[in-house]
Symmetry: C2
Subunit: 350 residues, 2 copies
Amino acid sequence: MTETPSITDLSDRARQLLRTLVESYIRDGQPVGSRTLSRTAGLDLSAASIRNVMADLEDMGLVSSPHTSAGRVPTPAGYRLFVDSLLEIKPLDSREVELLRERLSPDLETKVLVESASGLLSAVTQMAGMVRVPRPERAALRQIEFMKLSEQRVLVILVMNKNEVQNRILELDRDYSAGELQQMANYLNDRVVGRDLATVRQQLLREMKAVREHMNSLMLAAIELGEQAVAAGQGVDDVVLAGQFHLLDYAELTSVEKLRQLFEAFNEKREILGLLDQCIHAQGVQIFIGQESGHRILDDCSVVTAPYEVGGHVVGVLGVIGPTRMPYNRVIPVVDITARLLGAALNSRD
Amino acid sequence: MTETPSITDLSDRARQLLRTLVESYIRDGQPVGSRTLSRTAGLDLSAASIRNVMADLEDMGLVSSPHTSAGRVPTPAGYRLFVDSLLEIKPLDSREVELLRERLSPDLETKVLVESASGLLSAVTQMAGMVRVPRPERAALRQIEFMKLSEQRVLVILVMNKNEVQNRILELDRDYSAGELQQMANYLNDRVVGRDLATVRQQLLREMKAVREHMNSLMLAAIELGEQAVAAGQGVDDVVLAGQFHLLDYAELTSVEKLRQLFEAFNEKREILGLLDQCIHAQGVQIFIGQESGHRILDDCSVVTAPYEVGGHVVGVLGVIGPTRMPYNRVIPVVDITARLLGAALNSRD
DNA sequence: TTCTGGCACTCTCTTTACGAGAGTGCCAAT
DNA sequence: ATTGGCACTCTCGTAAAGAGAGTGCCAGAA
């Protein structure tokens, strides 16, 4: 009963059988017996020989029987080994890639783009899709404007790129005239445009401290205002989900209580957000099988995620949630490509 | 077997029994037998007498037996009669009302307000809440500004009321300078501010036709631009749902296929939108029992809705979806109050 | 006339039993 | 090392039987 068996612990035969078993179970959802394996594994072995190997695999904790006389089912460790070492990823049909690319056009607004991505993940995989919305800090600021709403209330308009506008309302401590606001905007536009929000904020904070005495009061106010503008509204901590209902289709998730908790988690989004955030620093596709995600609610689920990048920086994560018994060889490339396409779409606009 | 029995067709005794039966069934979800009714209805009748009455009610199509030897269950017609004539609505605890009022503060943005309302409906009733977002046409326009994004691309900023800002991006046929845009905004602000979007649009269309020759070209352009600005983005055809997962708790919705369809409908939102739109012209709380909504998906559900008003005009609808066997006496006042409070919150801001 | 107790009947639900089917583990033979 | 054979175990579907709940109807009481 090795704790974490490695692929090198397995004979070729055992590998082949494990692979066939997992594939078969993923396809049919039925425990796989020695007889079936003897027919389908392409090894020309009798059922009896296969039973010997299966006993070994069971000792290693890679498969288990639901009961004495059912076939074998992969354990989480079995899935893990399968995914890490045995899985043959089937590249996506180029028609499918094209379809995804079409639906993730750079012309779309960020919000629409993110919703598209989530919907596509769900539709293509028939499971639940999720997209962590991109961190706006990375988007380059193109223009900043102030608009007076009433005494001491100012609307800030941040134009981030071709299709992206953010509004924030600030309550000020004193009244500024429209002209003053215009001057302040001009001043800020001169020095912050083209940088991302995080950088802008740092720069403004620096300037505020460093050269406080050299400036006239309006310029100082401008910097303070600008700082407030980019500081506020960081709360875009959100995740866009789609197609949760697909999970109703999977028999292993039939326990009403489990399902309820799962849907409740989708609704709260907090748990999902935590899950995605913990993937944001990983590179490439990441896979959590069963409990690996550390979230009890997802015990019978697997999660496949991939971060997406804009300008070489990771700005978000996307992925799917489905039953542990999911077609990894298809889901993985879908998640991978979707992350690339979403990144590309967000990137290729001014 | 009268087709649509009226309350006048029933003896006092029958009414009392029907009421008790429906209440009992709503509470326990179990078919109600004559013995139980004899004990609980407070009529001091033997089970046998009650059986006679039940036979009559069954003939009238108000109750039915799942099988020969179960108790009786209300039919949709039975629920209808109950809701229309027998239901005693329990006014909400003033503490509860206060809680709702707190969470629906006029200070909140429209979006937050609507999400709160939906969440509250769901949380308080333990069913699915829904809110048709308010028609923006009714909100008074306070200010309109144009901002040049690039050649021939202009950002329109519509300030609707204290906490409400809308952005729209327009693609123009020719280039305008920032100065021109400012002039146009000034011109429009002078003549449209304080009216709602629908009125503004009509007014602009009228002016455009009527006085085309009397204006200089910039003013004409301003009107055209304004018209485009208020015309675009009508697509706020949306509904905010919450707490769908609560429906997993109801045994009568256990059929996975039904449930799946229901969740799919929630996801698509189209069906729900249609349902809400058909209630928008009704006054006060409206109740659809089972198939009455005309949407097959909701066969085993009831829907309770109420429109909400701003400035004396209905601007949206909200409600809940739950099993037909729902506690109407509680749900109805909750929906009613929530509609009033949401309307009040939207109304009482400048 | 209205109500009630009694009784036969019906239907569901649970338990039990049992055989078919599928799969295992082990062993002896190849 | 591999295989066929065999006894064993477990699930699943079906059938049978009994308990429980409730009905419908009738004859007698109020």
